[in-house]
């Protein structure tokens, strides 16, 4: 006669580990982007296709993690992080994977090329946005430490610093984006206008990647401020 124990049902699965695993997965997606753009600058469309496929695979793995986390998050939570905020963070994290997949998908579908004069700037921009995602991941990785300290004291400062540096990275990506747009503007007349239109769109998307990463950090700040 095993009695259902209030003690075991008290311990809901902590969303922290799944949240961190999800973040690891979406960062893997983003990691593919610099490789992808390097390949598309080299007009190596086969590699592009391969990378896009692997991004799509990782994205769906991340989706699975997200669904799992949502399914196992109890309705009534008594925890250091409100349920809504956990769901919000996972939604934002998921955008990193989705954006990576969208960008690589459209680029692959259109066999889009990157004009030679802006390749280096373009890759640098992509790399920096991926850096932003990684910085957000670093902060999310501190969540278990935050719980261990009960969201108090110097651990808060450590994470606060990480988020500040995330903000710096994000504004660097903004600067790089402006530079890149300016460089594109100077050469755009020499290329098919439609291709240029789409490339601008891609830049938009990549910029969003950094924005979303920063928003993850901002949500973490909200958690700490409570």
């Amino acid at each position: 006669m095993v009695r259902k124990s209030s003690i075991t049902s008290l311990f809901a699965g902590s969303p922290i580990k799944p949240l961190q695993e999800h973040m690891d997965k979406v960062c893997e997606c983003a990691d593919q982007l610099p490789l992808f753009f390097r390949a598309s600058a080299d007009k190596d469309f086969k590699t592009c296709k391969r990378i896009h496929k692997s991004i799509a695979r990782m994205e769906s793995a991340a989706d699975g993690l997200k669904a799992d986390l949502r399914a196992h998050l109890p309705n009534s939570l008594f925890m250091p992080m409100p349920r809504e905020q956990v769901l919000d963070i996972v939604r934002l994290q998921d955008k990193i994977a989705n954006i990576s997949q969208d960008i690589s998908g459209i680029m692959t579908g259109r066999k889009a090329e990157i004009p030679a004069p802006i390749v280096d700037l373009f890759i640098a921009f992509v790399q920096r946005t991926v850096d932003a995602a990684h910085q957000a991941r670093k902060a999310i990785n501190e969540l278990d430490e935050l719980v261990e300290t009960g969201f108090r004291g110097r651990q808060i400062d450590v994470v606060q610093e990480m988020i500040e540096s995330l903000g710096n990275i994000e504004s660097e990506t903004d600067k790089l984006e402006r530079k890149l747009r300016h460089a594109m503007f100077k050469i755009e007349k020499e290329y098919p206008p439609l291709d240029m239109m789409f490339l601008y769109r891609m830049i938009d998307g990549i910029g969003k990647l950094a924005d979303v990463s920063q928003q993850v950090g901002a949500r973490l700040q909200l958690l700490m401020a409570r």
Binding site: S6, I7, T8, F11, A12, S14, S76, E145, R152, Q155
Partner: protein, 422 residues
């Protein structure tokens, strides 16, 4: 009238012992796991160690400090003087209460309902008392106090646990060198565990086994107990190997190892506390029956609980633990993964102190609910990743469901026994 009691004395005592042993077995098989779950779940104890600690300290808690709650169950709820010349009614009632609580717990467990042993037995006794003997037979004031303690005990445990956790946050976790600070302060917490448990036991428990000491002696002995386990704990902490590379992924791994030592002593405290409080659920009614039968109907208000009955209860708990409870401890322990030793300690000690206090003043409370209170207290300090708030609802449900069920069954069995024996 006395002839019924005298002629059936053997049967009554025999039934009481069998039913009581069954209840004690059930407590050992099921409830102990809840008390030990936090220690196993936090990884401070392997499950074998937990079973061993539970066996030793449940038994000592039952024998050394189980007397006061037993007294409450035995004669605090029913006003024995109202029985007049029909003392055998109390025998039927107590037998009925044991059987009712035992069966109800069995049924509820099968169905997976959250129930409490304490609530079942109290509900059963109040039930047969109010219906079988008469509304006046129930000490409603005492029942009110017991019911109130079911609310206050989780709250008190939560408060103590919250404060304990805040204190280790301040003294240890939020410092430049948590490992060094843990080494410095954990021995004092160990002292506190030993002192508090020894103190309450000596003030309230030992008189039931015939030892009496004055206050100064109590404090001295408690301090000696505290100091000696503090010394043992300090030695154990010295033997811990600090591995800096373990802190790379999670920065508090080594600090938690030190709290693991503290958790071992806290586990002993909660096992002791549980034994001291819950043993009464099984043997309180037995003590009442034996008391009446042996005095052949003279309801002696002053007689103490015989020590062999405490041993019976403690032994029954250990038996339940050995035959079945060890499996449940493993199940419950593996269900608790979010707890690190530092919070396991705060939650468990808060509960243990509350339960031992309740045992000291003779209040039967639910160990599980108190422990839930302790865990929620740490949760309020944002110390645990996620807790399921629904549990609070199920606790209220278990009150609402268990009391009438225990009472109803007890009333049924009471009239059955009355028919059978007359």
């Amino acid at each position: 009238m006395e002839s019924v009691l005298v002629s059936n004395a053997g049967i009554y005592i025999g039934m009481a012992v069998v039913f009581g042993l069954f209840m004690a077995w059930g407590i050992g098989a099921n409830d102990v796991a809840n008390a030990m779950g936090t220690s196993v779940g936090s990884g401070a104890l392997t499950f074998k160690q937990a079973v061993l600690i539970a066996a030793v300290f449940e038994l000592s808690g039952a024998v050394l400090a189980g007397g006061e709650v037993t007294k409450t169950i035995r004669k605090g709820i029913i006003d024995v003087s109202s029985l007049g010349d029909t003392p055998e009614l109390l025998v039927y009632g107590m037998l009925a209460a044991l059987l009712a609580a035992g069966i109800w717990l069995l049924v509820a467990s099968r169905q997976g309902w959250p129930v409490s042993t304490t609530h079942s037995i109290v509900g059963a006794i109040v039930g047969f008392g109010a219906v079988g003997i008469g509304m006046d037979a129930v000490h409603w004031g005492k029942v009110g106090t017991i019911a109130a303690s079911w609310v206050t005990s989780p709250v008190l445990a939560g408060t103590i646990s919250f404060l304990l956790f805040r204190s280790i946050q301040k003294l240890v976790i939020d410092t430049d060198n948590p490992v060094a600070m843990a080494k410095r302060y954990v021995p004092y917490y160990i002292f506190m565990v030993g002192f508090v448990i020894a103190m309450v036991t000596m003030i309230k428990g030992l008189k039931h086994i015939g030892i009496k000491m004055d206050m100064d002696q109590n404090i001295m002995v408690a301090a000696i107990v505290g100091a000696s386990i503090m010394a043992i704990g300090t030695l154990m902490i010295r033997r811990i190997r600090i591995d800096p590379s373990a802190d790379r992924d999670f920065h508090f791994t080594n600090m938690e190892k030190i709290f693991g030592v503290l958790m071992i002593f806290t586990a002993m405290a909660i096992a002791f506390a549980h034994g001291s409080n819950d043993v009464a659920n099984a043997i309180g009614p037995v003590a009442a029956i034996v008391g009446i039968v042996q005095s052949a109907g003279e309801i002696v208000a002053k007689s103490a609980t015989p020590a062999w009955i405490l041993w019976l209860g403690g032994g029954g708990i250990v038996l339940g633990l050995a035959t079945y409870g060890h499996k449940v401890i493993a199940t419950v322990g593996s269900g608790i993964t979010e707890l690190t030793p530092s919070r396991g300690f705060a939650a468990t000690l808060g509960a243990a102190v509350t339960i031992v206090l309740a045992s000291g003043i003779g209040l039967p409370i639910s160990t599980t609910h108190t422990l839930v209170g302790g865990v929620l207290g740490v949760g309020l300090a944002r110390g645990i990743g996620a807790l399921n708030g629904n549990v609070i609802k199920t606790i209220f449900m278990s009150w609402i469901v268990t009391l009438p069920a225990g009472a109803g069954l007890a009333i049924f069995f009471f009239f059955t026994f009355k028919e059978m024996f007359s």
